[in-house]
Amino acid sequence: MSFLIKNIFLRTVIIRILYALITIMISATITFFLIRNMPGDIIYALASQLAEELRIPLDEARKIVMQLYYGIDINKPQWLQYLEYIENLFRGNLGYSTYFKRPVTQVIGRFLGWTVFTLSIGISLAFAIGILIGMVAGFRRGTKLDSLITATSSILTSIPGYIIALLLYLFLSARLGLFPAQGAFSPNVEPGFNLPFIADVFYHAALPIITYVLMTFSGWALLIRSNVAKILEEDFLKYAEARGLTKMRITTSYIGKNSILPLVPLLAIRIGGMVGGSALIESIFAYPGMGYYLSLALSIRDYGLLQGIFFIMTLLTIAGVLIVEIITPLLDPRIRKEVRG
């Protein structure tokens, strides 16, 4: 019996992964054609620069730039370039960054970690805090505390992330100097697994993380609150009480599980939005993550880097969604039924 379940479960996992791959392909394609056709022929500018430096004819310089740039042969027609691009993608070659004069994968590798670091902490904290606050409000429905929480939360959800970031920066960093103005860690601290460095890292990551939390926790709080309010009217609570189950168990296994589980799929969608939003937030705090370098790459017209970052961002979003989609049936038995059908 369980083998059958596992079999169907595996099948859905595979379908989901296939979906993800198709999505990646499509976004890679869009990225390629979009960026390929952007105005501003930086290739020409770079080629002429290179030609001067190495004293080679412009055409050759052009070829070299394009080769390094996309890892492709510029002489081939565009659709062949596209195929080579895809092939390179599969090999893990994301192109060349003209600004850093390094392969894109190297560049991204250095700062991808910062974004993942801040985003994962931010998203998890926001979820946890939101659930806590939302549950309190749900249990004390109708009281003053509940109205306070609901009112504040609905106002907070309407405030966009960049405004929160700006306000935080304005008051906590620029004005009061409580938090650093930029960077992931201070230049005078030795990187490594030592305490001063780790503390410093958190010190620098604090404002972005706080921003992420403030942006999203209120949304979760409101959702949980309405879920809890719904669950509290359910029959199975009464029967649990009648069986003499402890309050702790009722709160966690009955109310908790039932109100939190429906929210997990929403987490997936949220991750996508946050990855995109990180561009804005990181720029404001000059935090060297992917978002920061995305806008940097755009402004200096480093298309190789731009393409690579955008691709990774899409990848991250898809990965996040995929993980959540796979975990949800494992956690919520009701969804497993749909998976079967």
């Binding site: 979906y19 198709i22 105005p39 959800t157 960049y162 700006l166 304005l170 996508g272 995109g276 969604v321």
Partner: protein, 295 residues
């Protein structure tokens, strides 16, 4: 004579059913006032308030006063006038984009939900794929890539606005399709368009109302966001551009005198977004009780 009476009656109905409940709730009132203010700002404002883009260095970062309601910017220009003039771009573009997005979303949603089967699967797949593309970076990049104009900005924003609504509509319509009264209508051969407009569309209004509000706010954020990050605006009065030059070129975050100016813009943005959201929420609530009458 009779048609005149009916006309009066229908106006009274619209008032009672729609306008009154919105105004009655405090949120609805706040939202409606905000919307009215916004419309005034964008339409009448620029005609009434003169725009002076000449630098007046002696007024640099002046504090808000009767002469300069919002203070001055880094070049001594009147911020109030700049904001009023910029409101057209900031309000209008996201609005059009959201409208188009909602339209596309509703059409696709109805198609997918109503027809069902293969078209539903295709549309759902398309929507899911679209949703996993990070919208803000994509808008950001596309804004750079395409030639600058009102139309392109609206289209770029609209392109990422439709997926959210489509999903909800498809699931709603699919479940509605099997409801008894729809089946009854079908059996009475009342015609597809009748079913569509009389039975199904009212059920979708809350989703549409909510989404319009959320999309509008989101698109406004995206628009201001990308311009804040450096995309060239259509007018220098675009609020995102004002923020961008203030903060990046003139380091306004570190200048104490500049704080009021920044705060005013931010608070204005918060107020506008809050107002729109509240309005959309009360609109949604208005559509909901009506549905109960149907059921």
């Amino acid at each position: 004579m009779r048609s005149e009476l009916r006309y009066q009656e229908s106006i009274r109905n619209i008032y009672a059913d729609y306008v009154k409940p919105i105004i009655k709730s405090s949120r609805g009132l706040f939202g409606t006032i905000t919307i009215v203010v916004m419309i005034l700002m964008a339409t009448v404002g620029p005609e009434v308030v003169p725009l002076d883009l000449e630098p007046h260095p002696e007024n640099m970062w002046c504090i808000p006063s009767l002469q300069h309601l919002f203070g001055c910017d880094y070049l001594g220009r009147d911020l109030f006038a700049m904001i009023i003039h910029g409101s057209r771009e900031v309000f209008l573009i996201p609005f059009l984009a959201s409208l188009i997005g909602v339209l596309i979303g509703v059409v696709l949603g109805l198609l997918g939900g109503f027809i069902g089967g293969l078209s539903r699967r295709i549309i759902t797949a398309l929507t899911d794929i679209w949703l996993t593309i990070p919208s803000f970076p994509a808008i950001f990049i596309m804004a750079y890539a395409f030639p600058k104009s009102y139309l392109t900005m609206v289209m770029i924003l609209a392109v990422f606005s439709w997926p959210g609504l489509t999903r909800s509509i498809i699931s709603e319509v699919s479940s509605l399709k099997t409801r008894d009264y729809v089946e009854a209508a079908v059996n009475l051969s009342l015609g597809r368009s009748h079913i569509l407009f009389r039975e199904i569309l009212p059920h979708l209004m809350p989703y549409i109302a909510y989404n319009l509000g959320a999309l509008y706010v989101g698109n406004m954020t995206s628009l201001i966001g990308i311009i804040f990050l450096g995309v060239a605006p259509l007018n220098v009065t675009n609020w995102g551009y004002i923020l961008n030059t203030m903060i990046y070129t003139y380091r306004a975050l570190l200048i104490p005198q500049a704080t009021p100016a920044i705060l005013i813009i931010l608070i204005l943005l918060i107020y506008v977004k809050l107002g729109v959201v509240y309005f959309a929420q009360s609109l949604e609530e208005v559509f909901n009780p009506r549905l109960r009458v149907y059921e």
